[in-house]
Amino acid sequence: MLDRRNFVLSAGALVLASTLPLAAVAQDAAKIGFVYVSPIGDAGWTFQHDEARKELEASLGTKIETRYVENVTEGADAERVIREFAASGSKIVFATSFGYMNYVERVAKQFPNVTFMHATGYKSGKNFGNYNARFYEGRYLNGVIAGKMSKSNIIGYVAAFPIPEVLQGINALTLGARSVNPNIEVRVIWTNSWYDPGKEREAAMTLISQGADMLTQHTDSTAVVQAAEERGVHAFGYHSDMSKYGPKAHLTATTHHWGDFYIKTVSEVLAGTWKPENVWGGFKEDMIRLAPLNPAVPGDVKTMVEELSAKLKAGTFHPFTGPVVDQAGTERLAAGAVIDDATLGKMDYFVQGVASRLPSK
């Protein structure tokens, strides 16, 4: 029964309760979720995304609050993690690996008021954008250095899977190397895993024993740089500056910088001006950089690399400028032509100069 005293009490409680959410809203920071495919660690793909997350927090301060889940396999569990971020009030969810694509797509449809950004995929929607970086630009510069400095003319490349992004890197490195040294041969060993330090190291050792004196990898660990240091050959890091894992071996690295992009995207979403788009940034957008060059790199090579970086920044040079000829001798790009993004995104061949074959289709 609701008597008078109870009524006063409950009315008071009601007033109190109704003011609480208001106070909470005024202070509430916008929640941003990050889904990582591997543990953060201290170098690599996820590490660079997490560095960018910290830059985002530093830049936007109390306006936002970031959360993350690491080591989320690209299987059915990913959908639950992504959905939980959305359901628990996140404004934006960044899903940082290709295999999350179909799960992001499904959750994005269920949460139209949340913005979803997916890295390295090809799908998008009303509240669902994707982003990627032109990793191959850095690879081309690595190739130029390797081509100039290799004595054996053999470059070893440890790679995870023959997807377009990886093939772009191998081909760009080969084109860069052969632009300064037509005798260069690139040998590839597949590890069939993004992260398997043991296998990566084994592959690096095999490549060294085949005569490679320049190594690089498109995998997630520092094993290849460490192997190069041990055996006294040179290496190029990837994702992160890996010089501390091979102070002598590490000539430079192609490094990823997502911070500015995260800050821009989050600011736009908070301001209500965000539009879904496909972001593909490189040197020009400062998404890709070269790590500081090792003193072992000769002065003339350094100058050459600086000139090329300036051109990449200015947008006056594209690593995939014809003629590009594939392994079978077929011309894929006519002399002087520049590859378009759609063709680049579907790359499924090796250029001339790569000695290994693609796994059979």
Binding site: R67, Y68, E70, A76, D77, R80, G99, N192, P359
Partner: protein
């Protein structure tokens, strides 16, 4: 070497009740140790427990996710338990799970575009047969050459992973998938119907419950099941009674493989909707823990699979809300198994303090 004044002595008569209480004791010890883990990481243990064990099931959607995650564990663990009871140590349910996914995907892709209501049953059969076929390799090698089934079944997991990798990079690759390692998305006719609208929980839960019941009937109500239990508990007696050891090995491995194959089918025809190289999330290995925590008994497995699923979901939650590292789920799983094995020792042994009087 000086001997510690501690030793284990066999009990004259092991308790009949303790085998059932020891999993509960293990859970209690895991929770107690969890307090230490949360405190050591500098987090509030009460909040940690709330997030880890309650938050995942705070609403109906959470419960549906728990059931979805527990389903493949139930399936794999029931199949494994049949073999484990007869001392047939199939450690390769993970590989059999993958083959089940491959078998079901093969059917789905072969009949692509079909809207027949027979497609799903065909995928179920395809998945179970493929899983059983994979498990028949260690069964054959064991019965024919006495090759250790633990090693053979385990190593075949890696072969299965390479096989699925080859398929999704090669012949089964989605032609419109920009060379990414995945098959086409399945048609609706090849997807398991959803049980509760708005969730991902699908009919595979019903299949898993049916398998649990079938497993129970087989183990406790059939003559073969009886023989397998005898073989596990008293190998000499089974031999004396003339039970065929080879037959038990075949049954144990085929049941394990078939059930794991069903689970693999349910993954591709359920939450994934396609085959990728990431189809396995470690269900086959986690199911080994589930089988033992569940005392190799279907009812126990039902509860153990829910607990195990909760450990996975809770691990995600404490990451999201407390920034704890992803390995936290594994730490809890490890503690659970450790305490269970520890508690089990004391069913048959007791700790005696003091030096041996001899």
């Amino acid at each position: 070497m000086p001997e510690l004044p501690l030793r284990l002595e066999p009990r004259a008569e092991p308790s009949r009740l303790m085998p059932y209480l020891s999993p509960l004791l293990a859970v209690a010890l895991m929770l107690a140790a969890g307090v230490l883990v949360f405190s050591a990481l500098g987090k509030d243990p009460i909040e940690g427990f709330r997030l880890f064990f309650l938050n995942p099931v705070k609403d109906a959607y959470g419960v549906s996710e728990l059931l979805l995650k527990a389903t493949p564990l139930m399936l794999c663990a029931t199949g494994l338990a049949i073999g484990f009871r007869a001392n047939v140590w199939n450690i390769g349910a993970e590989g059999q799970f993958i083959l089940g996914a491959v078998g079901a995907t093969g059917v789905a892709l072969y009949f692509e575009g079909s809207e027949s209501s027979l497609l799903l049953p065909a995928m179920v059969v395809g998945g179970a047969l493929a899983g059983a076929a994979w498990a028949s390799i260690p069964a054959f090698l064991k019965t024919r050459f006495n090759a250790n089934e633990i090693l053979v079944s385990l190593m075949l997991v890696y072969v299965a992973q390479l096989l699925v990798s080859w398929l999704v990079f090669g012949p089964w690759k989605d032609p419109d998938g920009f060379n990414f390692p995945q098959t086409r998305m399945f048609d609706d006719a090849a997807l398991l119907p959803i049980l509760v609208e708005g969730t991902r929980l699908n009919q595979s839960l019903l299949i898993a419950l049916a398998v649990l019941v079938a497993g129970y009937v087989f183990m406790y109500r059939s003559h073969t099941g009886f023989k397998m239990r005898v073989a596990g508990e008293a190998a000499d007696a089974a031999r004396y009674a003339g039970f065929s050891a080879n037959r038990m090995i075949w049954i144990g491995l085929l049941c394990g493989g078939g059930a794991a194959g069903l689970a693999g089918m349910a993954e591709v025809a359920g939450p994934m909707g396609q085959l990728t190289d990431k189809v396995s999330l470690g269900y086959g290995f986690a199911a080994i823990i589930v089988a033992f925590v569940g005392r190799l008994n279907p009812l126990g497995i039902l509860f153990a699979s829910l607990l195990m699923a909760l450990l996975f979901l809770g691990g995600e939650q404490v990451q999201q809300y407390m920034n704890l590292p992803s390995s936290i789920s594994m730490v809890f799983q490890g503690m659970l198994l450790f305490f269970l094995l520890g508690a089990d020792v004391f069913i048959h042994y007791r700790l005696v303090i003091g030096r041996r009087s001899a």
